[in-house]
Amino acid sequence: MSDKHTITVTVNGHVYTDDCEARMTLADFLRRQCGLTGTHLGCEHGVCGACTVFLDDVAVRSCLTFAVQADGARISTVEGLAEGDELNTLQKSFQEHHGLQCGFCTPGMLICATELLRDNPNPTETEVREGISGVLCRCTGYDGIVKSVMAAADSQRDGVSESGSIS
């Protein structure tokens, strides 16, 4: 059990190199070795989605991924979403439309919704519900989250039509 492996990952643009046991999950590596506690654990068996992060641009459950599998990968977490000191469009939309209450599912929800809007910038409400259905929220009843994601899609579209690129 105590065989250690050295891995290197780039998280939100910073390079981290550290030792870990083969059994350490990516979630625990991010939280314990990198100090990035924004990624949350709600079940550790791959259902709740709170632990969702980007691994080389694909949203994955970091509780079901071993840290050693991520060796050499580029990872982004909730800590990497804001633009400088400003919330990004999606984060602002979550605040404005009450897309969060306790905030515990929120990191996973934001990553999941970011992927959804990247792949489908004009989702219908049904597509939003399906898109976020892999992240469980116990607080909001999803109403505020769906509104937040729809509104973020709207403002991204406005940003595109005004400036020609996604704001």
């Binding site: 259902v47 009450h98 209450q101 306790c102 469980l136 116990r138």
Partner: protein
């Protein structure tokens, strides 16, 4: 008091202010329980019983102790040397037998998951390795796996010295129920079953206990809704002075009542800490949560209602069974008791005979979950009134309306314990039915049915007791705790405001609504207000904790009072500085000015400077330095908010699956501080209730083993299971709460279960199906459908 509040011009109160904590929650920069490490900290894990009922004949921890990285291993026998039994704070049933347990079992285990031993090690991975090295021998005892087995005449007993498995029973009466039933034209009745589930916050429970024997201090980080209560109970269980216990709460990832209760793990971590001389973090994992966090909802209600042929309700009677576990949890049989107390709902029922039996089984302890018994009271009155409407051939809407107390009959005594403070129930019902019409549901249903679809519209009316509660009354009905709330409102030397409260925020927006009330009450920008909660060393005492829909009502009322007095003092100091009469002054946007002469003004920073630093010549001689007001608010009565909920569903007769299409609620919680957050509370609660109504269930086998201990088996709703929500508000102020607020945090969970039954019944009205059991899973519904199709009775 039955008037609607006049729309008044406010700057913050009543406005959809987004959550003030949201930016840190949205960026991953806030700190939850598992994000905290303290110096020298090690981590624990608990070994739990794999069987539901057994005698422990041997425990050998020696191999675990030898594992490198392990600091300590304790068993129940080690624990009892230091700790007393886990506390019970609710005693609603007179002369109830109270089965208490220690934080770790000593000789007998009475539920799967009961703690048997615990390890402290260098990290959680090693601690769990060590658990596997602990050897325990169990001598099996007969298992009482469910309510029916517990009540059987020859049932094995959980406690040998008891005559049976009944912990206690009580009957509440009003009028003469027997006479009412004898003279009734119509009687309807059924046996209603709500199976067990739990609050299930996405963040599980956790703590860090640091018990330093040299200073005698116990310093705890705890994911709790009730830090003050936890401090009292740590002191009680561990025999340390309250003054030596500090409880701090970090950000809480959802509570839902589940984190109100006081659990064994805090005590276990404290003992491990004391022995290993290191702070110990102990976190529950998801799988453990199904056996270690409060089990709730588990009840059966055999109830009947008597009516005259014109629809007047004459009487209600029945027996409610609370399915307690192998020992009592913190709140004992409190929630089952509350279900009985609210079983008459919003209706005038002169004759009542309501019996509660609290029954022990080999299940985990029963405890708190948002709604606290009332969702099952709601099932009783809402399902029965619909059965009655069917039997009488009356409209289910009109039957409800004709049995409401009229607005002028408030305060209205319900017949059992609660007095409803104010209400316009019929208006609320009309608001909901017109919204249903407006949204075109009736049309949709007609069209759907013509196309062969089973579309149903469900209705439910609920009451929500909030502002728990007048301290002396709570004491009289059996609570070993108080119900008041205390708040400090302080303006500092720079003119900014800090509010300190014993309530905490679990996501419901306590910090935001408190900041709104202070900003509005004082006349300062909301950015100038800081709300501090979650530390028993600096924050005031609150009776109870953040539960019972009390944060906005009681904490809010205390803030309204304290803020009012603080504002007067600020104006008196302003009057000295401006050489004016305080009566002529106003405070707006952080400036005190002479009304009508805006150029003659001082800022709150000037006031702060005068009250803290440059008193001479600036602070009136009659005033004490500093700017701080304390208010303790103990309500004269509880609040009763209410709503009419409507739900549009489609039933698939082939599979028994129920699709929730749309949902609306007409709601009255008195004065609303923040409509954005209020709607969030209502929606979140309804979604939880739909989970309980359709999906979520702890399933046990005959050996008392839980079969649903993961999110693969215990199904909480996802975004595709939950419909959109539409909320409509009316505001009938709480007459005895400064500010007029009523509780609303539990509305959704109370309303949302019975309405699922109502909607399914309506979708299948041609079959005459009656839903009496929750969750109404597809196999259960298929069974009802098949029974109805083959002509069998279904109730």
């Amino acid at each position: 008091m039955t008037t609607t509040t006049e729309p008044k011009s406010t700057k913050y109160a009543g406005k959809p202010q987004p959550g003030i904590d949201d930016p840190s929650l949205l960026t991953g920069s806030s700190t939850y329980m598992d994000d905290i490490t303290v110096p020298r900290m090690i981590e624990g894990a608990v070994l739990r019983s794999p069987v539901a009922h057994a005698r422990i004949t041997r425990i050998d921890v020696s191999k675990a102790l030898e594992l490198p990285g392990v600091f300590d291993v304790i068993t129940g026998n080690d624990l009892v040397e230091i700790a007393g039994e886990q506390p019970v704070i609710w005693y609603p049933i007179p002369e109830q037998r109270i089965a208490r347990a220690h934080a770790l079992a000593t000789d007998t285990v009475r539920w799967v998951g009961q703690g048997v031993a615990a390890v402290a090690a260098v990290d959680r991975y090693v601690a769990e390795d060590a658990l596997e090295l602990i050897e325990v021998d169990y001598e099996p005892l007969p298992v009482v796996a469910d309510l029916e087995q517990a009540l059987a005449p020859d049932a094995p007993k959980l406690y040998e010295d008891w005559p049976d498995n009944i912990s206690g029973s009580m009957t509440l009466t009003a009028g003469d129920a027997d006479a009412a039933f004898a003279e009734a034209d119509v009687v309807v009745g059924a046996s209603f079953r709500h199976h067990p589930g739990y609050g299930c916050p996405i963040e599980t429970r956790g703590c860090i206990s640091n018990w330093d024997v040299f200073s005698g201090r116990l310093d705890v980080w705890l994911g709790t809704q009730s830090p003050n209560l936890a401090r009292e109970l740590f002191a009680q269980v561990l025999s340390v002075p309250v003054s030596k216990v500090r409880v701090r709460t970090p950000e809480i990832g959802g509570g839902f009542g589940l984190k109100f209760d006081f659990y064994p793990e805090g005590v276990i971590a404290a003992i491990l800490s004391r022995r290993s001389k290191r702070p110990v973090k102990l976190l529950e994992d998801r799988q453990e949560s199904f056996v270690a966090s409060s089990r709730s909802r588990d009840m059966r209600h055999d109830f009947e209602m008597a009516l005259r042929s014109d629809g007047t309700i004459l009487g209600l009677r029945g027996t409610a069974y609370g399915v307690l576990g192998g020992a009592l949890g913190t709140v004992g049989s409190g929630p089952p008791w509350a279900s009985v107390l609210t079983s008459m709902g919003p209706y005038k029922i002169p004759n009542q005979e309501l019996t509660l039996k609290a029954v022990m089984t080999n299940r985990s302890p029963y405890g708190s979950y948002r709604g606290w018994g009332v969702p099952k009271g709601n099932i009783v009155h809402e399902r029965l009134i619909e059965l009655a409407a069917r039997k009488l051939g009356m409209s289910r809407i009109e039957l409800r309306r004709m049995n409401f107390p009229a607005p002028e009959e408030f305060p209205y005594f319900s017949g059992a314990a609660f007095t409803f403070d104010s209400g316009r129930y019929a208006d609320c019902l009309d608001l909901a039915t017109s919204a249903v019409e407006e949204r075109g549901w009736n049309e949709l249903q007609r069209e759907g049915r013509e196309a062969g679809r089973s579309i149903g519209i469900g209705y439910g009316f609920h009451i929500e007791p909030g502002a728990y509660g007048p301290s002396r009354v709570l004491n009289m009905v059996g609570l070993d705790h108080s119900g008041f709330d205390e708040v400090y409102v302080r303006m500092d030397s720079a003119g900014k405001v800090t509010v300190l409260s014993g309530q905490i925020s679990t996501g419901q927006g306590t910090h935001t609504t408190y900041a709104q009330l202070v900003a509005e009450g004082l006349g300062v920008p909301i950015e100038d207000v800081t709300v501090v909660t979650g530390d028993t060393e600096s924050c005031p005492y609150t009776g109870y904790g953040t539960g019972g829909s009390r944060a906005a009502t009681l904490g809010g009322a205390a803030i309204v009072n304290a803020t009012g007095r603080l504002k007067s003092k600020i104006l008196r100091i302003g009057a000295e500085l401006l050489e004016a009469d305080p009566e002529d002054l106003e405070l707006e946007d952080g400036r005190v000015s002479v009304r009508g002469a805006a150029d003659s003004s001082v800022s709150t920073a000037d006031i702060g400077y005068s009250a803290y630093r440059m008193l001479n010549g600036r602070l009136p001689e009659s005033e004490t330095p500093t700017l701080e007001e304390v208010d303790v608010f103990d309500p004269a009565n509880m609040t009763t908010s209410y709503a009419c909920t409507a739900l549009l569903v489609e039933v698939d007769r082939q599979t028994g699956a129920v699709k929730l299409l749309d949902c609306l609620q007409a709601h009255d919680a008195g004065v609303i501080i923040n409509p954005l957050l209020a709607d969030g509370q209502l929606a979140g609660g309804l979604a939880q209730a739909f989970g309980g109504g359709l999906f979520e269930e702890f399933v046990y086998d005959d050996d008392g083993q839980i079969r649903t201990a993961s999110f693969m088996d215990y199904l909480i709703p996802s975004a595709t299971d939950i419909p959109p929500f539409h909320f409509y508000h009316q505001e009938t102020p709480a007459p005895h709460i400064p500010g007029g607020m009523k509780g609303l945090g539990e509305a959704g969970t109370i309303a949302g279960v019975s309405v699922v039954g109502s909607a399914i019944d309506d979708a299948l009205s041609d079959l005459g199906v009656t839903v009496c059991e929750f969750p109404m899973t597809p196999p259960r519904l298929l069974e009802l459908i098949r029974a109805a199709q083959s002509g069998e009775a279904t109730t």
